[in-house]
């Protein structure tokens, strides 16, 4: 196979690397270590972090892209598939290939719509059996219930076993660190008397393990969340949407960070006419309704992509470029807030002794901004990313729904909801596409909101929940 690095892949992995580097640095700086550990000492924050980590793992698995090598034809150079695949695609191969022909309800054995079937007895109108669900059941009407329950129970048992192993590991690790026997450590975890909320974390892990165990065991023979209009498995679609949400949620703030940080630093530190001009630009951009800015930006982008098809050899690269620039466009409308926050922070910092001293020693302004001020406003950027994340994920859905979001062929919560927009109006009602998309989006955004809350509380004790 031949690896493919899409733009958003590169940025996503750079982000992870940068986050790790920051964590390494923060662990060495006592004040940062203290504030960040505060976030993880909050049970809600730690539990949310676990959920976010799972979503991040799914997103990263979906960001390792490559083109599979096609079977060799004698006498020709090795050829590669025109389709870009990711690690997640490989893991979901069973679901992605097991497409039905149309809608089917969650865990269903038969299709949702009647079809004309020609048999030896003649032509019949009936609900056909699904091609990739409950294939080994002879009489689904009678056996379905027992089969589903057995599979779910097996999955839950596997999940519980995994949790038990992890809990035992945690108890042993705790016992080794604090001394004393592991039964004592287990008792302390159960009573919630640990520095970090191990009980809350383990409870979250247990819930996630059982849930994914049940889903994983059922998905071998069923469409757990049903299928959409063209018969695609919804579980696969919604898992592939996670990456889009993650990319938009984190990259948007990051790609415009240089502008926001540069202008914010300049406005705050240099002041005077420069400050006036930057403030003016910020006000002008803020006072344009953001929907118009985004719509105009996306239209420009689409025109560009249509005019230069040669720059994007595969469809994946094209949709990825659109996603990348959508982040830039979204960032163009949101950088003003970050800029204002950084300016405010710099106004406070520049009166402090170390900046005054640097100024007195004749250090040039550019160097002061880069060496003394920038590192000290980085936490504002980081908190801003965390806080903006959830609203950006929600915004993506709305923009895709209006038609100025990601490419319609890209899996995302917005496109998923958009394709299902008229399903509730049908008779009988098709609820599962919307339910699946909204549930996963809710889980992601809720975890992000809860985590953002504990980050904010740790960095700004004034607003702490008393």
């Amino acid at each position: 196979m031949r690896p493919v690095v899409l733009w958003t892949d590169a940025v996503l992995f750079l982000q992870v690397a940068a986050a790790l580097a920051y964590a390494w640095r923060a662990a060495r700086a006592p004040h940062l270590a203290a504030t960040w550990s505060q976030t993880f000492k909050d049970p809600a924050g730690a539990a949310a972090a676990v959920v976010l980590a799972v979503f991040l793992a799914i997103g990263l698995a979906d960001s390792v892209h490559f083109r599979l090598r096609l079977p060799d034809v004698a006498g020709s150079a090795p050829a590669y598939s025109p389709v870009t695949t990711s690690l997640l695609d490989l893991a979901l191969a069973h679901q992605l290939e097991g497409a039905e022909s149309t809608y089917s309800a969650p865990l269903a054995t038969r299709a949702f719509e009647k079809q004309t079937i020609v048999t030896e007895q003649g032509v019949k109108r009936e609900y056909p059996r699904l091609q990739h669900a409950a294939r080994d059941l002879a009489d689904p009407a009678r056996q379905w219930r027992a089969d589903v329950l057995t599979r779910a129970a097996l999955g839950a048992a596997a999940g519980l076993a995994a949790t038990a192993c992890l809990a035992a590991l945690a108890a042993f690790a705790l016992a080794r660190r604090t001394g004393g026997g592991w039964t004592q450590a287990a008792r302390r975890i159960a009573a919630g008397r640990t520095t970090y909320p191990l009980r809350a974390v383990l409870a979250t892990v247990a819930a996630l393990c059982v849930l994914s165990g049940v889903i994983a065991s059922l998905t071998l023979e069923y469409h757990v969340f049903g299928t959409d209009r063209v018969g695609n498995d919804l579980l696969a679609l919604v898992l592939k949407s996670v990456r889009t949400g993650l990319v938009i949620g984190t990259m948007t703030t990051l790609v415009t960070m240089p502008i926001a940080a540069g202008l914010g630093l300049a406005a705050g530190y240099l002041g005077g006419i420069i400050d006036e001009v930057i403030q003016y630009v910020v006000t002008v951009i803020n006072s344009i309704p953001y929907v118009l800015l985004i719509a105009a930006g996306v239209l420009i982008l689409v025109i560009y992509l249509d005019a230069h098809p040669d720059q994007f050899p595969t469809a994946a690269e094209r949709t990825d470029a659109r996603l990348f620039f959508l982040c830039v466009i979204l960032g163009m409308t949101t950088w003003t807030d970050l800029c204002r926050l950084i300016r405010g922070e710099v106004l406070k910092l520049r009166e402090l002794e170390f900046v005054q001293a640097a100024h007195a020693f004749g250090v040039p302004a550019a160097r002061i901004m880069r060496v003394h001020l920038l590192p000290n406003v980085m936490h504002v950027v980081l908190i801003n990313i965390v806080i903006n994340f959830s609203s950006l994920v929600l915004a993506e859905a709305i923009l895709s729904y209006v038609g100025v979001g990601v490419d319609p062929s890209m899996a995302s919560f917005g496109t998923l909801i958009n394709t299902a927009r008229f399903e509730l109006g049908r008779e009988p009602v098709i609820w599962w596409t919307l339910a699946t998309a909204f549930t996963f989006m809710f889980a992601l955004v809720l975890a992000a909101n809860v985590f953002a809350d504990s980050v904010r509380d740790a960095f700004d004790p004034r607003t702490a929940r008393r």
Binding site: I285, P289, Y290, V291, L292
Partner: protein
């Protein structure tokens, strides 16, 4: 006071000029006048007809710099200068189809305002009530579940409220039409659902913000004094509310343009013929005059919101007035 107001108005004009320039650049980066003519007259069209249409609409000049014109006319004899000058004298011109835009705006602003104004008032009042209620019951299970409920509410997509709202209220219960708008006595029925949706969308963040403001106020000395004098908890809340007015006004003022923009988006979901659908029309029909007019209204609203906020500060806290 007069000097302050004058300065603010001048600055507002400057911001409007900037907004106009940005809109112009963005719009003409997407559509050239030739595209617009073809959009308007159809694909099969002679070059002369395009030229005639451009001359008629005033798009036959260079966009920014007319190199062939003498002296100062290099700058004034351009599409940018002419359209900007017209907009600044509040003449919005006509759509490509010849409809007078200011007339159209007057019709269309009615349903938009019927959504935006009640939403704004309801959000502010509901958030204050929720915030105060949570504070009154602080330390109890009611507060805990309330705070959790608000975070959950914040995490639900607006699309969910729109889709399920239309399904439950319009389809199952048949209390109101699914979408559309009719002026007159039945119009409240049409805007009820959009208002409810926007209220739910903004209640979470706003109520949480107000609760945090009240909490901070609650830690101050005058609260302790008031309690020591034996004031009831409700009376204390009265003091807290009065003293929290400034941050409440700030966030409510910031909410006005946000609600306006959300109204634009919400209208398209409910196919209400307000400013939102006008905007979408302008974008899809590549009509610069429409886009500019709506942006103009939107940014004026933003600027007015800021002016109102500043004036409200003086009303809420007489100490501000001195400066």
């Amino acid at each position: 006071m007069l000097a302050f107001t004058l300065r603010r108005v001048l600055y507002s004009v400057l911001v409007l000029l900037g907004v106009n320039a940005v809109t112009f650049v963005l719009f003409f980066a997407v559509n050239t006048p030739d595209d617009m003519a073809r959009m308007q007259l159809g694909r099969r069209i002679t070059a002369e007809a395009i030229e005639r249409w451009k001359a008629q609409q005033g798009y036959d000049k260079p966009l920014f710099l007319n190199a062939r014109a003498p002296g100062l006319h290099k700058l004034t004899d351009t599409v940018f200068y002419v359209t900007t000058a017209r907009a600044m004298s509040l003449d919005m011109g006509r759509t490509n189809e010849g409809i007078v835009i200011s007339e159209e705006l007057r019709h269309r602003i009615v349903p938009s305002m019927m959504i935006a104004v009640p939403t704004l008032l309801l959000v502010v009042f509901a958030s204050i009530a929720t915030g105060l209620g949570l504070i009154l019951y602080r330390g109890t299970g009611l507060e805990r579940s309330g705070v959790i409920g608000l975070v959950a509410l914040m995490s639900i997509s607006t699309l969910f409220f729109i889709i399920t709202g239309q399904f439950v209220f319009a389809r199952v219960l048949q209390l109101m039409p699914i979408s559309g708008f009719v002026a007159g006595r039945s119009s409240p029925l049409f805007v009820a659902l959009p208002v409810l949706v926007l209220l739910l969308a903004y209640l979470g963040p706003e109520a949480r913000l107000f609760r945090a403001i009240f909490l901070e106020e609650l830690g101050k000395d005058y609260v302790r004094t008031a309690r020591a004098k034996g004031l009831s908890e409700l009376g204390v809340m009265g003091h807290v509310l009065r003293n929290s007015l400034i941050p409440i006004i700030t966030s409510s003022g910031l909410l006005l343009p946000v609600v306006f923009t959300s109204t634009i988006v919400t209208e398209t979901f409910f196919t209400i013929p307000g400013l939102g659908s006008f905007t979408i029309e302008g974008i899809t029909q590549q009509d610069f005059n429409i886009v500019r007019a709506v942006v103009f209204v939107g940014s004026t609203l933003y600027i007015v919101a800021f002016l109102l906020t500043d004036l409200a500060y003086g009303w809420a806290d007489p100490r501000v007035r001195v400066k």
